[in-house]
């Protein structure tokens, strides 16, 4: 086998990395290159430099260091028993690609993951080495997201946190049973322990920051953009309830910034016991909506599940609306009087619209005609609110309220 060119390796190792949903480059500290006179800046919201035709943002150079892997996770394109072409970058090659792309403003930084080669520690060491080269040899100030290899030693995790903005450890499947049957080499205990290690690193860094002698004293660095994880949706039999239960437990225990839900997508050379072709994209979307309700709208998992059927979210309507339809006795709410927590529960009102309403009503009553300036979804909001000149009357309790929102059955559309 002849040595692959950089271009060929890039093809293989980007292809192998695309099943990791995360591409976020936000939430880290402000940095710029003025001080270092190198290149690279971060801070504020991340930037999506491009979009692929799958609608996903391209913010980072998301690649694997290698797709050789000693594990045999059935849902994974890179599992040992798969026949995909294999390739391996050396750390310098990844550094070169990252800098070349970054200088042309293609990317915000690097998201580096890897198949497991030799051992967890060896693999983690390689990832850390790339990040070290970028930061120390090239004064690179852009965003770095490193995958933490579950089971890698705490010392390596600590070093990764020193260079990376974000660390992530994928839980892959929401239940222990799922993991056992689909990822024989992984255990949720090892994964959780690794996440706990990252959380301890984050806590210790925060503690040290508070305990500084002087305000300007340099604080120790540890993954300022925190940690995240990913769950695959639809590969095993887990219900949405299981997934959200796992997510709430993870958010509470490990200070995760994000849980990513990734619809299981067919892979070349798939294992025969996995569902074929169509990835459950709408299910994935509903899970993200539910996740948002948990984090920004004050909903509990149990409440979200009130609008679900046998532990599965409604695919036709969004989870907040599904909840509201089960809880019609709580509506309509008075837009001019309701507290923020209740406004957040009105279907159609997002966090920004709620802030705008709160601001506007301090200066006078909000009327029906004002709504269009405050929210983009007036039609959706109407059955659930009152204003001095609007009452939904029987609309709130009407039997066909659901049908009003459910999209009409549509023809299957082709890709183009």
């Amino acid at each position: 086998m002849s040595e692959k060119t950089i271009l060929q390796k890039l093809g293989v190792l980007a292809d192998a990395a695309k099943y990791d949903a995360s591409c976020a480059s936000s939430g880290t500290i402000k940095r710029d290159s003025t001080g270092t006179k190198g290149i690279g800046s971060t801070g504020g919201m991340g930037i999506c430099h491009s979009y692929a035709p799958d609608g996903r943002c391209i913010s980072l150079l998301k690649i694997l260091l290698t797709n050789f892997c000693i594990y045999d996770c059935r849902f994974c394109i890179n599992r040992a028993s798969s026949n995909v072409p294999r390739a391996r970058f050396n750390p310098q090659e990844v550094v070169r690609l990252t800098l070349d792309f970054y200088k042309r403003n293609y990317i915000e930084g690097l998201f580096l993951s890897s198949g497991i080669i030799r051992s967890e520690d060896y693999t983690m060491e390689q990832l850390v080495e790339v990040a070290r080269l970028l930061r120390e040899e090239h004064r690179f100030g852009g965003y770095i997201h490193l995958k933490t290899i579950a089971g890698a030693s705490p010392e390596l995790i600590a070093r990764a946190g020193l260079y990376a903005d974000r660390l992530s450890t994928n839980v892959e499947l929401p239940t222990e049973a799922g993991l056992k049957s689909f990822a024989p080499e992984k255990t949720s205990a090892t994964i959780r322990k690794t996440m706990a290690g990252v959380r301890v690193g984050l806590d210790d860094a925060a503690e040290a920051l508070r305990g500084r002698l002087l305000k300007k004293a340099k604080a120790p660095r540890f993954a300022p953009a925190g940690q995240s994880t990913q769950m695959i949706v639809g590969a095993d039999g887990s219900r949405d309830d299981d997934i959200l239960q796992s997510a709430t437990s993870l958010y509470s225990g490990y200070k995760l910034r994000r849980v990513y839900y990734s619809a299981y997508s067919p892979i070349p050379d798939a294992s025969s016991d996995l569902p074929p072709v169509r990835p459950p994209l709408i299910r994935e979307h509903r899970l993200y909506q539910a996740d948002w309700l948990l984090r920004f709208y004050g909903f509990s998992r149990a409440e979200i599940m009130e609008g679900a059927d046998d532990g599965m979210l409604d695919l036709t309507i969004d989870p907040k609306l599904a909840w509201a339809l089960q809880r019609r006795e709580s509506f309509p709410v008075d837009i001019n009087r309701a507290p923020r927590e209740m406004l957040l529960r009105v279907p159609g009102l997002g966090t920004k619209a709620v802030e705008r309403i709160l601001m506007a009503r301090r200066l006078g009553a909000v009327r029906l005609g004002d709504l269009a300036k405050l929210t983009a979804s007036v039609k959706k909001v109407l059955p659930f609110i009152t204003t001095p000149d609007w009452r939904p009357g029987g609309l709130t309790d009407s039997a066909n309220l659901r049908a009003r929102f459910a999209p009409r059955p549509e023809q299957m559309s082709l890709a183009l």
């Binding site: 990395a17 430099h49 609608g55 391209i58 205990a189 959780r192 067919p266 798939a270 025969s272």
Partner: protein
Amino acid sequence: MREVILHRPGDFAEWRDAARGLLAAQVPPEDIVWRQADESASLFADIAPLEPKRTVTLPRALVTTLDRVICHRDPAVPTRLYKIVWRALTDRRLLERRTDDDIDWLARADKSIRRDLHKMHAFVRFRRLGEGEDGRESFAAWFEPEHRIVRLGAPFFRKRFYGMDWAILTPDARAIWQDETLTFGPGGTRDEVPDSDVVEDQWRMYYGSIFNPARVKINAMRAEMPKKYWHNLPEAQDIGPLLAGAGARVEKMRETAVQLANPRSDKWRVRGEEPAVVAQHGATTLSELAQGINACTRCPLHCNATQAVGGEGSAEARIMLVGEQPGDREDLVGRPFVGPAGQLLDDALGEAGLDRAKLYVTNAVKHFKFEPRGKRRLHQNPSTGEIDICRWWLDQERALVKPDIIVSLGGSALRGLTGKSASISSVRGQPITLAQGERLVASVHPSFLLRLPDRQRAAAERSAFVADLAAALELAKGSRT
């Protein structure tokens, strides 16, 4: 009617100076016509010099917004902005009036500018011009923003690309960063910028490879990367072919779904050692016990906890401390009593004259039981059932360490040690002998002390706690002789 001619569209200083003079002279919006320099002037305009009648100050937030919105391409912008500042002078809360028509317009115009800026930061594509003798590289980009935003957008690139020289050219203006100085100049043309770059092949390879053909979502892509930007994005030329080939690629995946396993994979795979099976028969050493506890699935608490937390300390300990269960920090770190309650315990041990290293410290329940609440885990008391199931491990710890004295910290520990639920007060202060022969000193859990809001009571309870520990030490000394 007064006429103001603006020569530099998008230039905030020019508009601001004109507006300031007009506001000071109290010229109302309806008496002004704002014109661009290339529009024909009116013959009847008032040209008398303006006489300042008042001083003008505007809220800072408004000025920042005006500075952005002046870059908007809508020719009505200077007129509309003047109307807004005119109103702002008498209405200090104007910006908060989200339902006001002028403010609604301003918010939308500002949003459009900010979006355009964001897209500029995202979609500028540099091409390499060359490299200086000192190794400093230089790059250039051609970009066509919707509004006149080069002035606003350039500082971002200076902060990001300090270590290289660059130029961004647009039809209206150019920004140039060299010799560590940012300068602005006139608009340019596309052919001033190279038409290719060596790295573009790699970038297009990346773009094509990161695309997942099984989840085509064209509208999502176009909403965020509108077509008007495509002709300056090297990767966009591949969108058509990628979409055209997507169906066939997915079809091929379906057809080739089942294949034989990669024959070389056995060579790569190294099987991890199977965890030793201790659980069923009981451990004969503490390290064996630790392995067993680590792998425990006797009750469902292991499902959500990070790890089991077994006891730790001296195998020859005369005194064993038994708490309730690991807390948040213990669960993360994997050691007992290392959180806030552990800190209090350590202090109290010191005051009682006990050395923690010579003790054996453990819990009645080995996994953390909690209720997730947002970003925190709220401690939940273990049920009697959970305590009783976990006695399996506690009993073995007792049998292996063989302490003379056991201090129970809290009610759960009492239950775990005696198998019966009893109030602490009913057994506190009078050591009892357990069935296995150890002497039991009952006390409270240190986290109980942390929760007491009343200072005096907390101090009293703390002294009692230290006294219990000291009593345990005395008992231990007595039993040694």
